[in-house]
């Protein structure tokens, strides 16, 4: 039976879709059979990040409403052969997802895949509930700013209330991913550090992703940054994926290049 990982956040735009894509690729590269599922109904964009937008014929709503078979809607990735993608519908109606249909779909996927990585919409309305109610694990994405951390805290607080696992007395594994860390700002005291955020949210850390311009260019061309062996954010996503698989890896030490030591080094190099 596969594991359902829901990628969520309170605030929008903090990196859920980016994380979903990179974790899905990272897990597939580690040899797992993975499906990335876009549950951000009406606002699909995981397809673009994965570079699969041109191959969409059917979507998850078509599957749930019986307009096609699951196998017809699943898109296989070219680069990672263990990776599949199930697109979101672009109908504007977010209530298009019916809980019982979602359950049927996810139960079938669980039989066929090791990991089901779900990209969820921002906020805590019905779309969130559909994304979280069957989750085994949740990755809560937060950026180090007050509104993102505040909203992350609210989401963490309601995950168990929405989860079936929690109702059965089991626990949804919850981890935080801190995204868009800017080391130079942390060093000058103008951005909360990873420790600051952890101290407030009090759930375990599973990933720290630096701010990286390469993420934007990677999204432009539809090749998740995790494929880029030379990028720091790519390495951060590779480690995040391997931690999900249970490896105990150190967190990247993120330091500004403009620190004093950097300047001195720069003079002698």
């Amino acid at each position: 039976m596969g594991t359902i990982i829901t990628v969520t956040s309170g605030k929008g735009g903090v990196g859920k879709s980016t994380t979903t894509a990179n974790v899905a690729v990272g897990l597939a590269q580690a040899g797992k059979r993975v499906v990335a599922v876009d549950f951000d109904i009406g606002l699909r964009n995981l397809d673009m990040i994965l570079g699969l937008e041109n191959r969409i014929v059917y979507d998850s709503i078509d599957v749930m409403e019986g307009r096609c078979k699951l196998s017809q809607a699943l898109i296989s990735d070219k680069r990672s052969k263990n990776l599949f993608f199930l697109p979101a519908s672009q109908t504007k109606d977010k209530s298009a997802l019916k809980k019982e249909k979602v359950r049927e779909l996810l139960e079938v996927l669980k039989k066929d895949f090791d990991y089901i990585v779900i990209d969820s919409p921002a906020g805590i309305e019905s779309g969130f509930e559909n994304s979280i109610f069957l989750a085994d694990e949740a990755l809560i994405i937060a950026t180090p700013d007050v509104s993102s951390v505040r909203d992350a805290d609210r989401v963490i607080g309601i995950i168990d209330a929405k989860s079936e696992k929690a109702k059965e007395g089991k626990e949804v594994k919850k981890h935080v991913v801190i995204n868009r860390i800017k080391p130079e700002m942390v060093e000058s005291g103008e951005m909360m550090s990873v420790d600051d955020v952890l101290n407030i949210l009090a759930i375990p850390l599973i990933g720290v992703i630096p701010e990286d311009k390469k993420i934007i260019s990677a999204t432009n061309v539809g090749e998740p940054i995790v494929y880029d062996k030379n990028s720091l954010a790519g390495e951060a996503f590779r480690r995040l994926s391997r931690r999900i698989l249970g490896e105990d890896l150190e967190f990247l030490e993120l330091k500004s290049k403009r620190g004093l030591l950097g300047i001195i080094k720069g003079l002698f190099s």
């Binding site: 007050v146 951390v149 505040r150 209330a161 000058s188 005291g189 909360m192 407030i200």
Partner: protein
């Protein structure tokens, strides 16, 4: 604290302000997210009413997600005001 900071005082860095503001804000929000908080308040008021007039009850927490600490402040109707 450096001598400079000691002599001239230190301007609070914005990250520190962020931390402080979040802590205060979340101490309130987490309590309000508890499903039983309204019932708990009503029950406390009922009990205290047996002994004194209650004006208001404020409940907050210092703790994180797994709340294990509630601070209850019971504001009594002071008789002198009547």
């Amino acid at each position: 604290m450096s001598l400079f900071e000691a002599l001239f005082g230190r301007k609070k860095k914005s990250a520190e302000a962020a931390k402080d503001r979040l802590k205060i804000m979340l101490a309130h929000e987490r309590v309000h997210a508890l499903p039983y908080i309204d019932d708990l308040k009503k029950d406390i008021i009922e009990v205290v009413k047996k002994y004194a007039e209650v004006n208001d009850i404020k409940i907050k927490t210092e703790k994180n997600q797994d709340i294990d600490f509630l601070e209850v402040e019971i504001v009594l109707n002071s008789p002198s005001k009547d």
